[in-house]
């Protein structure tokens, strides 16, 4: 037991949880906690320029490290600025602890300066939250916050601490365990269900492993690989699952969904067995749900029972930690193998490979402009074979091209906003990823629209010595919206034109103390990107690309996945 203030207790709790870095911005109602930082803590505080940036940094940190991300903000506007990041973490199951200051207890409910009911506002988008009422609650609440954020299905929690409680004295003792009678995430998958799942896999002729981000959250990538290799199962990774399985592996067959290649979507939709591993049948993956994979038996493996049957009925559900569930399925398949069973998937693997040869990703290099795909392909070529590159992205066309053309060999190397689709996620997430992986080259493939939503965090990258490389795939448009207006609204472009040249991105970068580059020709793209990647400081590359390039293939919203629209030009080059 040690006598201290509530504010110190918060920091001692962070230290006890092994937090090495957190992200935030101080303000009136959280002054005592920031004073505790000033009085000394082993936790590094990274000062963001906007609380949304701090939130996405904490997310990027969590996604790159596998640890819980921590974001801090003051009451009122500080807390509400965190809301987008909390919602993002909720949708993508990113473990996050947000600590917000609150007005003094006696002022709560009086519309005091910078008062805001942040626990109320965030109820639909947190796993749990606390408005701390007494200083003695702090150790228990902090322990519970970290425990809930990282157990079961990961996600965000919020701890709101009134200023007078930060200033109150406490005999601090951090608990080793916390009793939460209402929080009991599943510990093991049911053995009978696991046997059923293994039996279904053993007998399948056209199976697909449909792998989502839960595989990484469940630390189950090695077990996944063992399963795929043992039974020769094709692996298709979602946007959130990208990197869960090595993309150069012969059993990796692309990415599903709205902008996934035809071969991946055909494999999913023509399969006889769909094994969903930590994935959730999102509409961007399935297209028209009633037409999705009509002939497939569904095995659904997930830590969250509520995902089972939420959208697609599961024939064989297994609820449990994926690491154990996958390992047990592998053991059971080995047993079946000893009894004489063997994989029967070779013709199916050849079939998917044939589709891949027949319908590759294509685009045309014709025309006056540098192509966005070329930019991403060049980035891939420049970093191929390196195991120290972490990618982040914004949301939109550039994100889809990043999915299509970047090859991720390792878990936690592709960090993107999937569920919420948060434009502006990429740059701050890159700063957070860099804090988690100082050894890595962290590259944000961004859009010009996205970049302008959070570019103030360049200051954070520069001043906190967290150098990142931002490659703006600058088409001068809110590109994905432009694409939908082009394809589904007779090309009536409405409020989507941002222009290539305002702002002058390289000058903006220089103004922030970063290196600025501009490139607009295919001849120079490689040398410019190489210089940016190797300059050793925060760099922004303004890659001015074809303003009207569209992202293909595409499943129109609400259409069946088999009705894809492909790139049609004759002189397309293959990727």
């Amino acid at each position: 037991m040690a006598k201290m203030l509530g504010s110190d207790a918060i920091l001692r709790a962070l230290e006890a949880e092994g937090v090495d870095v957190c992200f935030g911005i101080p303000g009136g109602a959280i002054l005592p906690i920031y004073d505790a930082f000033a009085r000394g803590a082993t936790v590094r505080h990274v000062l963001a320029r906007h609380e949304q940036g701090a939130g996405h940094m904490a997310e990027g940190y969590a996604r790159a490290s596998g640890k819980v991300g921590v974001a801090m903000a003051t009451s009122g506007p500080g807390a509400t600025n965190l809301v987008t990041a909390i919602a993002d973490a909720w949708m993508d199951s990113t473990p996050l602890v947000c600590v917000t200051g609150q007005v003094r207890t006696h002022l709560i409910g009086t519309d005091a300066f910078q008062e805001c009911d942040i626990t109320g506002i965030t109820i639909p988008i947190v796993k749990h939250s606390w408005l701390v009422q007494h200083v003695e609650e702090i150790p228990h609440v902090m322990k519970a916050a970290f425990h809930i954020a990282r157990t079961g299905r990961c996600g965000p929690v919020l701890v709101d601490v009134p200023r007078d409680i930060q200033e109150a004295a406490i005999d601090f003792e951090y608990p080793d365990e916390v009793s939460l009678p209402g929080w009991k995430p599943p510990k093991r998958g049911h053995p009978k269900q696991i046997k059923e799942a293994a039996k279904a896999i053993a007998g399948a002729e056209k199976p697909v492993l449909y792998v989502g981000g839960g595989t990484m959250n469940g630390d189950a990538c090695a077990e996944l690989r063992e399963l795929a290799e043992l039974w020769r199962l094709p692996v298709i990774t979602t946007l959130m699952g990208k990197g869960a399985f090595p993309e150069s592996h012969e059993l990796h067959y692309g990415w599903p969904g709205m902008h996934g290649p035809k071969w991946s979507n055909w494999a999913m939709n023509k399969s006889d067995l769909l094994v969903a591993v930590g994935s959730r049948f999102d509409d961007r993956v399935t297209g028209k749900l009633s037409a999705f994979a009509p002939g497939a038996t569904v095995v659904h493996l997930d830590i969250d029972a509520a995902e089972i049957g939420k959208l697609r009925d599961a024939d064989i559900p297994v609820v449990g930690p994926l690491k154990q569930v996958l390992a047990d399925i592998v053991s059971e398949l080995r047993r079946l193998q000893d009894e004489g069973a063997s994989p029967r998937t070779e013709p199916w693997l050849r079939q998917i490979a044939d589709w891949r040869d027949e319908f590759p990703l294509r685009y045309s290099r014709k025309g006056d402009f540098l192509k966005p795909q070329t930019v991403v392909e060049t980035l891939q070529a420049l970093t191929a074979g390196r195991d120290d590159v972490v990618w982040t992205t914004g949301v939109g066309q550039h994100q889809m091209w990043a999915m299509q053309y970047l090859r991720c060999e390792r878990p936690r190397t592709f960090i993107t906003s999937g569920g919420l689709g948060t434009m502006g996620y990429g740059l701050p997430a890159a700063v957070g990823a860099k804090a988690a992986r100082p050894d890595a080259t962290v590259v944000c493939v961004d859009g010009d629209g996205c970049f302008q939503m959070t570019c103030q965090e360049l200051a954070t990258a520069v001043l906190e010595d967290l150098p990142i490389v931002v490659v703006i795939v600058n088409n001068g448009y809110l590109g994905m919206v432009q694409q939908w207006q082009n394809m589904f609204f007779d090309d009536r472009l409405s409020q989507v034109h941002l222009t290539h040249q305002v702002p002058e991105y390289s000058q903006l970068a220089e103004a922030y103390g970063a290196a600025g580059f501009t490139v607009s020709s295919e001849d120079e793209v490689e040398s410019v990107l190489e210089e940016a990647l190797t300059c050793g400081r925060t760099a922004v590359v303004d890659a001015r690309v074809d303003p009207r390039e569209q992202c293909f293939p595409m499943i129109p919203a609400g259409a069946a996945a088999l009705d894809m629209i492909e790139f049609s030009e004759e002189e397309a080059v293959e990727a």
């Binding site: 639909p124 408005l131 939460l180 969250d304 509520a306």
Partner: protein, 171 residues
Amino acid sequence: MRHTISVHVENKPGALMRVSSMFARRGFNIESLAVGPTERPDVSRITMRVDCEQHSLEQIEKQMHKLVNVLRVTELEPGESVERELALIKVAALPEKRAELMALADVFHARVADLGADAMIFEVVGTPEDIDSFEELVRPHGVKELVRTGRVGLSRASIRRDASRRQHVLR
């Protein structure tokens, strides 16, 4: 189809809000909701009436289980549970009508909770269906005001329930 769900929650600030917010957010409609203390001071019980398909009911149960304050979710099945509701009904009752109303009330074991010059308040406890019937019968006399608690329920003492039976199969 209508279902009655009984939810044990920790008696903590915001627990009810978390449950009701989940319903709103997931698009489930609550017909009635009653909340109050239980035999344990640290536990409250929420009884909810919802109108939904079996598939949605399973989603509701599973989504509720994910809430940290929720301890147990059970469905109270008709025939295997006792369900009661209380209503207060203020009915126009001029002196010459009182006897007729009292006779009606007698059939439903309704009590007169208050009596005024031209109106009276009945207090009736029963199954929600009984209360519906009583309400129908007094309505022609002129119902001035009416309030119902929403149903509360317990599984029958006379039926040995396997405690885990209504817990979802996946848990």
